[in-house]
Symmetry: D2
Amino acid sequence: MRLVQDGERVLLLSPRGKQMLVTIHDGERLHTHKGLIEHSDVIGIPYGSPVRSHTGELFYVMRPSIHDELMGLRRASQVIYPKELGEILLRLDLRPGREVIEAGTGSGAMTMAFANAVRPGGRVYSYDRRTDMLVLAAQNIERVGMGETVTFVERDISEGFLHHEVDALFLDVRNPEDYLESASQALADSGHLGLLVPTVNQIIAVLEALEGMAFVDIDVLEILQRHYKPVPGRVRPEDVMVGHTGYLLFARKIRRAPPAQPPLPEPNQREASSP
Amino acid sequence: MRLVQDGERVLLLSPRGKQMLVTIHDGERLHTHKGLIEHSDVIGIPYGSPVRSHTGELFYVMRPSIHDELMGLRRASQVIYPKELGEILLRLDLRPGREVIEAGTGSGAMTMAFANAVRPGGRVYSYDRRTDMLVLAAQNIERVGMGETVTFVERDISEGFLHHEVDALFLDVRNPEDYLESASQALADSGHLGLLVPTVNQIIAVLEALEGMAFVDIDVLEILQRHYKPVPGRVRPEDVMVGHTGYLLFARKIRRAPPAQPPLPEPNQREASSP
Amino acid sequence: MRLVQDGERVLLLSPRGKQMLVTIHDGERLHTHKGLIEHSDVIGIPYGSPVRSHTGELFYVMRPSIHDELMGLRRASQVIYPKELGEILLRLDLRPGREVIEAGTGSGAMTMAFANAVRPGGRVYSYDRRTDMLVLAAQNIERVGMGETVTFVERDISEGFLHHEVDALFLDVRNPEDYLESASQALADSGHLGLLVPTVNQIIAVLEALEGMAFVDIDVLEILQRHYKPVPGRVRPEDVMVGHTGYLLFARKIRRAPPAQPPLPEPNQREASSP
Amino acid sequence: MRLVQDGERVLLLSPRGKQMLVTIHDGERLHTHKGLIEHSDVIGIPYGSPVRSHTGELFYVMRPSIHDELMGLRRASQVIYPKELGEILLRLDLRPGREVIEAGTGSGAMTMAFANAVRPGGRVYSYDRRTDMLVLAAQNIERVGMGETVTFVERDISEGFLHHEVDALFLDVRNPEDYLESASQALADSGHLGLLVPTVNQIIAVLEALEGMAFVDIDVLEILQRHYKPVPGRVRPEDVMVGHTGYLLFARKIRRAPPAQPPLPEPNQREASSP
């Protein structure tokens, strides 16, 4: 049985699904839409316990997951891709000890997900040219205690990256096709490139730029998530869903560009791509 | 620059996308559809290098990712959910040091993904009642060097789990609704439950069984991945796609069941902006 | 060149995509969010012409399509399925001369689409037990000049249908499984049954009820439409899309129930269903 | 009760879903995979009746729908879009009396669907430059008795269309952007343009070409159909689905190009409610 300690970060979860993330400090108060909660009421109780605000509203005290933290940032900044995130972490093969570059930093949401995946022992180099974004992201990263895993770099990446031999590199910038050469130089051989772009025009531009470069195993995909109402007697998909965040592209770096390939003939027998 | 060492596991990748996973042993030979490759030709060369079979066929020598290993298992057993995997890892909040139960083991693919996510310091308890599956899975796990992170348990889970206070628990069994009580007892407070079922009938059965139990934040979803042909002049989705693997359900354990909630009123406004 | 005549129904379309449907009556005025338009300004001009409100706002005068009329009703009542409609018309094989029953009537949107498809020479029998809905629907149908093709019937369909030997029958009611026997009696042999239900529970209930009945060629499907921003330099799907309206089921009536079939073995080689 | 007449076209439907379309001629025999059926055994029996081959195999004798005929053509030629078809008919507002141009003709499947929608009183002008395709299509159209509704035109449409003032025009050709000017000239004011292209590159090319032309209400969309296994105890989507046929674009012709519009500001709020 784990008890909530002073200084820990907790998630307060209402039965209706409202979520609040807060770092517990003895003596402080949390102001919710449904009344006040004294932090001291939470300290020392087991995780998973109910707690009530001064108006009697019920909340559960939960350990926050990295997904909760990202959703918290998402409510603030809107520039995160939760439905793509699991796939990105998997495809970049991020694990303890790995080094990864990301550009740009944005609100630090992806930074946080990357840092969570490569610690202990790994490192995230997060590039952005905007000081204000870097300051905001650094605050978000410090709040969740991941500061020592991340190096923030204020720099225009059109001048190239300062770090090299990284295991993976993720581009979330306006014109990723302009930075593929720099990305290739920063990646270790056999390293993973990932990027996310919102438009089909950008996917075309990136694919054109990749021709003749030292990347193989190029995969372009998009991910749709469909959530269902969890009511046993009336199970059905939500009426409205996220229709698009962006197109993902993954590729792997080799030591030099492959020889040009004659195109494959169009198959007569259409086959499923791998899922 | 990393050089391939004797005993390492490598991915051989053809320009056409063919993939072969092999553990390098000096003196051995790999038989491909396109000719022989001497393992000794690969030892000592940098990752990302080209290598040719005795018939001149080109391959690249890459470091395998966890995704590659899972895809390799998938080609053998067909019972894996790569498009759901990233989301499962994220939503169960698996990270170094965490403990997770899975049932059943199957070919060990999910076991591998879980072990990769919780090491170092974590542990996977993988339950199955079939000896042959456990033997197969153990071989697959040993091959990728994750044996010390996994405990295999031969047991019918209708008798309950032997491990408790785990951070997460994943059910991939025929009638998950029958094991929710056992799952609840095995999970630590605030722990994460996940399950995957193929049919809508099973989702209904699980949601019914969850009523009155000590779980909150229930989320039912499905994931669709759409892959595109990466040809710059003719970008378009693949003609055929995976239409379904299963429905995912996630929930979080609390210390006791929440009070019954009056249902939310159905919204009057139920249509999205665009037609 | 077609000129707008007094008494005709026109669509006013703004360059931004705003749509207004109006029947032109000399001497009347249309009040838009962007100023007044005199009906007399529209009479006698060619379709496709621009017209300006008294504040200078631009509109185009277009011939309304059946889709425009349905979208107009949709803005008023919210209970229409434009993304399913084309498929429903096709699968019920509605064409001039055919007879079709629908239950319930609702706002008359489906009634309108059916009437449009079966005229000249065909007939729609539209059943509802609510007088107010029938009155509303009749007004909507009269407005588009289809009154003579539709027979409205105020009746609880649990007592059966009054019309028989119809070519097609569409159920859009709460518990369609309760009315399948009546539907079967009303349909001509080889006739088409269609229904739409929002939940998976209802699909299960309907499939159970159909077992042993004289229906074959059962097809359950759902339709997703994904709209794109039509901006040449930034083509991408809309951020938000309709995630669900309902599940469609189609079947065909035969003269008596087929003999029970042994289940097909699950295929080893998974195949695509017909699109 | 309708009885099968000599000379009528029927669908033979097996309980397993096998479909065969045949025109009944007294004295002829149908050779199926499951034995012979004498046409004379079918003549005079009611539609919806069972009939057995000489080996005892069961079939139902059904009236064929236009959808059946299209599916029959599809099995032969693969170049039809049944999941898009209902939407195309609806959006082009095809109904009795309307005139529509299509290019190209292909196997005549779309021609058939268009002819079915505009008769009586309407007309389809179907353009192709390949004599062999026109001959094939004409045979397919004659077989279903729609010959008098269709005019086939052997012509390279880069020289423009011979017919004008048509209500709708559909392009299913390799470079539709090259024919938009001709399409505009052939369409009546307020007429409907539709086209289908497989790649995103083509959608971009068409949208670029439409800029400055006399078209409004441009809508780009794609349609996904998801079919479910109709087994009451195990309802779930088919494992494999059609992932793509093409992108649809619809627009409406006005009398002259609209003035250039300033772009709408990008919305700040771009995320849907659920993650």
